[in-house]
Symmetry: C2
DNA sequence: TATTGTTATACTCTATAACTATA
DNA sequence: TATAGTTATAGAGTATAACAATA
């Protein structure tokens, strides 16, 4: 188990929206919209370790599995993706390899490079992880269809323009 | 420095949208909308350690400062908020206290409890951190006003209903 | 010479378990 | 007895620095 208190024994002291950001009414339109998204975002970030722990993965390991689904990746590319030093990736991959989730394959073109690929077990675990990650959180699930469609269209445009 | 490669010496190998989730067209409206938001979310999550490092904070320390801005918090409440064991909070607060950012104050009502408050320096740092966190990311900043207003209104409704 | 990955070392974050001081 | 916080210990994530193999 990882990243969680077991019991619901706590006095929760729930807070209203925006426990952190500036008043939502401040700033221009981008700030107003972002401040609200920020809420959802940080709630999700807070829950991510617990979500990864459901699969007995650390948050970083979950990121690695997520990324590795796209195909083979050089260790250095992974280090870059994770914004961490290459020396970390060695240990990170050691542990994933020990669990039989990934494999190192030496590159033929450049024998310094080691490519990472998911094992069958790794791909299976990744599939379950991705399904879990892709399940809309309650706040999204509760939205009316009209808002969901608008949100989808807005995000489609934004990601396309990017 | 923390959580970052220094140079832009890497071959970036950028990917298109959705490096992870299921096809965006799958599922119902909630899944479609969520899959797109998911993209933005994980990009933000990936950058969070680097962002915290700009203030020489670990990601967790940044979360603590963010949360502590709302007022005094018992150590146990903070542990609950962070979804971590109480024993971690001791060390976490030790380090923040050593840097002069927070203070422990014994509660008068229950002398077992220690309340955490920001010092003046802590409040100042938190202010700069929050300003940085609240700055809309490029993807949001580039949205047309019409989409921003719609997004804001949708999120307002969602957070209110919650 | 420069780059890829490893090893060595040190610090932070995390968990569990045993302890203390209060309640 | 139960709870809030600490201490002790161990494993994982992170950084820097030095290194081997390869380019």
């Amino acid at each position: 188990m990882n990243g969680l208190n077991d019991g619901p024994s706590e006095q929760v002291m729930r807070r209203q929206a925006s426990p952190s950001g500036p008043a939502e009414s401040e700033g221009g339109l981008p700030e107003q919209a972002w401040t609200l998204l920020f809420e959802l975002l940080h709630t999700h970030m807070r829950n991510f370790p617990a979500l990864a722990a459901e699969f007995e993965l650390s948050p970083v390991q979950a990121h690695v599995l997520r990324q590795l689904g796209e195909g083979a990746l050089a260790m250095s590319t992974l280090a870059n993706y994770l914004s961490c030093d290459a020396s970390n990736v060695t240990g990170l991959v050691d542990r994933l390899e020990a669990r039989g989730l990934v494999e190192r394959k030496s590159s033929e073109q450049d024998r310094r490079v080691k490519m990472l690929v998911l094992t069958e077990a790794g791909a299976e675990l990744r599939g379950r992880l991705m399904a879990r990650l892709s399940a809309p959180p309650p706040l999204i699930a509760a939205m009316p269809d009209e808002d969901l469609a608008a949100l989808r269209d807005i995000m489609r445009r934004a990601l396309k323009t990017q």
